[in-house]
């Protein structure tokens, strides 16, 4: 069964379309990384899973239940680290965890939870005095209460130092081993590639890519970026390069030409440039990293990437 199922979901706020006709399925037990730059529609999508906002069109199902009508039942089995939350400044960390336990109607030891997220020593201090990272740990602790079937983490690493981010990944992994489905968003690829089974990349309200990390890596492994230093090159000179087989894209700023291509197409590119009358002074190649691909998806101009 699917843990999360979005079917033709659109959300508009006034004239702004935050999410546009989104189809997405996350099977049970999967760790799914939901990537994209800020403002891509990630949080709006998550807010629809939790019934914080209602879709303009389409259907949202979580754990087999209707996300709107059965929201309380969904949230009883879901742990959430929301985005843009605030803690109760006047209540201690322990009181927060106790509140989560009473709300989920489970009887457990708050100390064990606080221990697990690494803030046991601050348990009886007011959360108003917590740092951003401690607040993030506290709310993660609230999310873990009651052994949820689904964890929804919106930008879980924000505010955490590298050590904290690593602990966060370890907790995600432990939960996943327990069989929990984990759905988490990030605008930084590095935080998710180590733990995710699969990622989806959002941009401008659309899902522009959806694949396993291995799949994405496979797609980029064959590719290289060739940077050629030239005397002068124009758009016209690039036409011959673009016409070559194995070339994905070619751009120039006049002094350098940047070409994405298969490894064995490099010689052809240099030759084509020289044939066009461009003097090649130097060139270097670089393997495209996953990060480059992610940046191309999220920062490049719309439509530039067609992978």
């Amino acid at each position: 069964m699917a843990a999360i199922e979005l079917d033709g979901v659109t959300k508009r706020f006034g004239d702004v379309t935050a999410v546009s006709n989104l189809d997405l399925t996350v099977p049970e037990g999967e760790v799914f990384g939901f990537l994209g730059p800020n403002g891509a529609g990630k949080s709006t999508t998550i807010n629809m899973l939790l019934d914080f906002v209602r879709p303009t069109a389409g259907e949202v199902r979580v754990l087999g239940l209707n996300a709107g009508r059965d929201s309380v039942a969904v949230r009883r089995r879901t742990g959430v680290l929301p985005e843009g939350y605030d803690v109760y400044e006047r209540l201690t960390g322990r009181k927060h965890i106790e509140f989560a336990m009473r709300s989920k109607e489970v009887d457990d030891d708050p100390s064990a939870v606080l221990e697990r997220v690494g803030i046991a020593d601050a348990a009886d201090r007011k959360a108003g005095g917590y740092s951003k990272g401690m607040r993030q740990r506290l709310v993660l602790g609230m999310a873990l209460v009651g052994e949820p079937d689904l964890l929804i983490l919106d930008e879980p690493s924000s505010g955490l130092d590298p050590g904290g981010a690593r602990e966060m990944r370890e907790i995600v992994r432990t939960e996943a081993d327990r069989g929990t489905t984990v759905f988490f968003s990030s605008h930084v690829l590095g935080q998710v590639e180590a733990v995710c089974d699969r990622v989806g990349i959002m941009r401008g309200g659309n899902l522009v890519a959806e694949d396993s990390i291995e799949g994405l890596r496979g797609a980029v492994d064959e590719g290289e970026t060739l940077t050629v230093t030239v005397d002068a090159a124009s758009e016209d000179d690039l036409a011959a390069v673009r016409a070559l087989g194995g070339v994905t894209s070619a751009t120039t700023d006049g002094g350098t030409v940047t070409v994405s291509c298969d490894a064995d197409a490099k010689t052809g590119v240099i030759g084509a440039l020289e044939d066009a009358g461009v003097t090649v002074k130097d060139f270097q190649t670089e393997e495209t990293s996953l990060e480059d691909l992610f940046l191309a998806y999220t920062e490049g101009e719309e439509g530039e990437v067609s992978a």
């Binding site: 019934d51 949230r75 843009g84 939350y85 709300s103 609230m142």
Partner: protein, 274 residues
């Protein structure tokens, strides 16, 4: 049904605010001042009811200040959490929006009842041991309870606005608007209106006498309903004697003010995108 968890959390949170501590001190001082002002002349005795019926307690504290302070304590209940973002924490947990609204009514009701109880009961310790005061425990505790109920009616109004409003500015505008309507404005027009209606004036298109219109207006106002119930209570004639209908209506009106505004607020809150 997890509204009790919301109420408990909200009470724990609100009771730690400086407002509640400040209000407790204020109420204690005002009730003590009232006790001092109505102190008996040497050789005479008074009933503790004289303290409750004094201008300071009945008119200044209970029917003027308590409604205002209840609104202040409660107007941010929902919209404040919405603005700070803690509402996302609250609704990440398995609460329905109705749990949130009614949990908030209960939590804030307890948070305003605490300073009211402290304000009345701490000075009572002094009255209890002062020889010239006949301390009527039942009427004193009962009046404290009725005052708390009046406060809760205004908590209901404030939480209703708080749930419906998209910003705390709007919530406070609504709450203060209601306060001005029911307290200063009503206080200003009451006597002229009474005179006018008593002399046979009033809308001729209504199948009601001037007296009936006046009575309805008094009932509609929570402070009016409170006075009907509390006066009867202090006179020992609550739900007995000739005014029973009026007293039952007034009691029901107070209950309606506690429940209906939060329900109306919930209608908006349920549909809102957070």
């Amino acid at each position: 049904m997890t509204w009790t968890a919301v109420a408990r959390k909200d009470f724990q949170d609100a009771i730690r605010s400086r407002w509640v501590a400040g209000l407790s001190v204020l109420f204690i001082l005002l009730v003590s001042a009232a006790a001092y002002l109505v102190r008996p002349a040497p050789g005479e005795t008074i009933s503790s009811n004289a303290v409750l019926n004094s201008l300071v307690v009945r008119d200044a504290l209970v029917t003027t200040l308590v409604p205002l302070l209840a609104l202040v304590v409660a107007y941010k209940a929902v919209v404040g959490e919405r603005e700070s973002g803690s509402l996302k924490l609250l609704l990440s947990l398995p609460h329905s929006r109705a749990d949130v609204v009614f949990g908030k009514v209960a939590g804030r009701a307890a948070a305003i009842a605490a300073p009211i109880s402290a304000g009345f009961l701490l000075p009572a310790v002094v009255l209890l041991v002062a020889p010239p005061v006949n301390f009527d425990v039942v009427s004193y505790v009962g009046y404290t309870l009725l005052t708390a109920i009046l406060a809760v009616a205004f908590v209901g109004i404030a939480v209703g606005f708080s749930a419906a409003a998209s910003s705390s500015r709007r919530a406070v505008a609504g709450a203060i608007g209601i306060y001005f309507l029911f307290v200063p404005l009503w206080g200003a027009v009451r006597f002229p209106l009474q005179l006018y209606l008593g002399m046979g004036g009033g809308p001729s298109w209504l199948p009601l006498t001037g007296q009936q219109v006046l009575r309805m207006l008094r009932l509609l106002n929570p402070t009016g309903s409170f006075k009907i119930v509390s006066n009867a209570f202090l006179q020992g004639s609550l739900y007995t004697g000739g005014q029973v209908n009026m007293q039952v209506s007034a009691t029901l009106m107070l209950v309606l003010w506690i429940l209906v505004p939060p329900l109306l607020g919930l209608l908006w809150f349920r549909e809102a995108d957070l």
